[in-house]
Amino acid sequence: MIHPSNATHSQIDRVCERLPSEEREGQIFWKLRWREGRSQLKYFSTQARFRTILVVVLSLFFWIGLFTLFYSGFRFIVMNAGPAGATYHAQTVQFVFALFFASLQVMLIFSSGIILYGGLYVSQETRLLLTLPVRDSRLVFYRLQEAVFFSSWGFFLLASPMMVAYGIAVSAPWYYFAYLPGFVLSFSYIPCAIGAIACLLLISRLPRLRGILVGIAALLVILVAYVSIWQTLDISPAKSLHSSWFIDTFHRFEFTRGEWLPSTWLSNGLLDAARPAGFDPEDLPWLESGKYFVVLVSNALLLHVIVLWLGNRVFRKSYCSLTSRQAREAKSGSVLIDRIANGLLIPFPKQTRLLIIKDLRMFRRDPVQWSQFLIFFGLIFLYFANLDRFRQYQGDLSVQTWINIVSFLNLAVVGLILSTFTTRFIYPLISLEGRRFWILGRLPVKRDTILWGKFLFAAGGAWLPCAGLVLLSDLILEVSDVVVSIHQATCLLLCIGLSGLAVGLGALMPNFHEQSPSRIAAGFGGTLNLVLSALYILAVVVLTALPCHFVLLSSSTEISFHILKASTLSFWLGVGLATSFALTCLVTIIPLRSGLQAFRRLEV
């Protein structure tokens, strides 16, 4: 160390020369990751064993399920379109692969860009690293690794059973399986790097317009998805599932097989690696597949270099410009949504109303919350809006049966999506309130009022969009008025039950040490809430769907069974509804009661 009293510039220069080389810097970051990973593993194996086992078992279950599904599908193709290498087989599988990988490619671009934005521009860790002598390119790469990991794990979980199933179904040679990890890694890196480049450029060039641009891009993607779904399903009944339909659909998705798309390189590489060698001695499938592999790797490396170069040039500048923005002024009294909410909540006591409005304001000012809400419910809306294909076959009894099943499945989907929201956003509310409990604790408000406020906020906020979506599904499917009423009643029960469960468990098992809602939701209580919610939804939907289904069947068929007598079925429908109601009461009252007791005793 030099002594500053007599430190000269050259001495200071010498100290700075000792800063870590690029390789050493990389090693230090890997060491950091390894140490963090070790601690995390230790935590999983000691303090979160139940959650870890649950996650592993569910993931395995999901993987095996997907594998079985894909394996059956590919065996069907082998039996009907010939083995790997046959023209129809190649065309069919290429269609499936290209569509699948092209869709995931777009999702990876968006998700990696958004995750990288969070990691680079709004993270406290980045703020620390910017004050250390870390190269900007290294910092960007360090964060990109996380973005790649977090955005690609879903891709690995979906793609790996499909690719393995295909290899086994067509008895692919060993090098097909040897190529797989390299193909997956190099392919997933390309869209993630594109997302990273887009993120860096967007923030550095247009920081003020980033929200608008991302919104426009998301709208475009939704529009393209909507038009694609519409066009694909827009077929005359006569053409349905005929060869002309297949050829037509095959051509409609030509754009997913463009030669310049990484998804095409991956699809072609997999197809080549899986097919047997032909009679031509110069036709070497492993080499043909290897060429696509090299194209993928070289493009991934090129994009990697561009990300580093861009990170070095624009990251710090864009970080500074982003943190120098003028703070937005929060609008409160004048906002229409607050006024409407205030009007709707008139029947409730003033204190409850104020607490609900506070939660509503926090929700709508947190883009993470409302954007996820909007994306998931928006996608369900898109799907529901395309359901009218069934109407073409209203006269067919089997189609009517399907319509009924689909309408109840839609109800279950809405419930399941809602359960992820109650777990992610409602369950952590009390834990987060605990950190600022001194504010509420000092106010002349009963603790029960706080909890009831959360429950009403969750149930009321969930009911409006869920009831709207279920109604849309029913109207599009043109189900009977009785079914619409049953669906609406079940939807209301689900909103009440799921909210009661999340608020009650959140108060029963608060976590005041954690500041991140996602980590609170990922804890034991959050996992328990998710599992119980899924079981509850399953029970309620089955209890109402089964009798309803048989009632519909009995009214639409001439065949008469004793069990299908209208009076018996109406009785069972009544029993199903009453049991659902009783179950909802249990699911709401027991956790809320226990939560209230725990919350009253709470010392923060």
Binding site: L19, S39, L130, T131, R135, K317, C320, Q326
Partner: protein
């Protein structure tokens, strides 16, 4: 050692720091004083490279902070107002990470660790994960990390927040001793008694402008009642 030359920083239309001219030599402790929103934290963030000036130049030693952020940061140790620690690392692992990032060799890292652990009395909890640390423990660990490479410049944003009286004494002594070694300390604080006790010079900021910069006796000359407390002088100047 530190130079702010015609430095301006804006947040949209709002001027956070306006044409700041400030130099701090080696061996001095300078306390930045001012109300909330006066521009103190922005000034410190520009020095440590978290913000770029809209106009002007910030220098740490021979380096322009904007042009040579790595070299400049090697000369600086920074204690932010909201410190970050890796939850899943122990205090020892965190300090080793920071030391290695500053280019310390393994033997130097061990020596530096021993020195800072003794200085900040971190021994009892050094090998626990930082997620279990109290605010005071976190603050002391962050101080140790800022000093692990014995920087020429120590920059501290609100150093006493959340510290117990014993730790406050520790930090005050540390800053004085550090300046006595010929190094430079720049801190922002609301605690006027701390500024009076340990700083060689004070700088008063108001709405981004530097109202006063100099020694305590010079500050007293600015108000008619020279015997008044620093608090009265500060408030009188702020109201002018």
């Amino acid at each position: 050692m530190i130079q702010f030359q015609h430095v301006t920083r804006t947040y949209g239309d709002r001027v956070a720091v306006n044409q700041l001219e400030l130099s701090i030599s080696s061996g001095q402790v300078l306390a930045l004083l001012g109300h909330n929103g006066a521009g103190k934290s922005t000034t410190l963030k520009m020095l440590v490279g978290l913000l770029h000036p809209s106009e002007g130049t910030v220098r740490a030693g021979p380096y322009n902070v904007e042009e040579n952020p790595r070299e400049a940061s090697r000369l600086i140790g920074y204690v932010p107002d909201q410190p970050f620690l890796y939850d899943k690392l122990s205090g020892r692992e965190f300090l080793e990470f920071v030391a290695e990032m500053y280019g310390l060799r393994s033997t130097e890292t061990r020596e530096a660790l021993d020195r800072e652990v003794t200085r900040f009395e971190l021994g009892e909890f050094l090998d626990q994960l930082t997620e279990s640390y109290s605010h005071g423990m976190r603050q002391r660990t962050v101080f140790a990390a800022a000093l692990i490479h014995q920087p020429e410049i120590l920059v501290v944003d609100e150093p006493m927040v959340g510290l117990d009286p014993h730790s406050i004494r520790l930090v005050k002594d540390l800053m004085r001793e550090y300046a006595a070694l010929g190094r430079t300390v720049l801190m922002s604080t609301h605690m006027l008694n701390v500024a009076e006790e340990i700083s060689d010079r004070v700088a008063l900021m108001k709405s981004g402008n530097l109202l006063f910069e100099g020694k305590m006796p010079q500050l007293r000359q600015h108000v008619p009642d020279a015997e008044a407390s620093l608090e009265s002088i500060y408030l009188a100047l702020m109201e002018q």
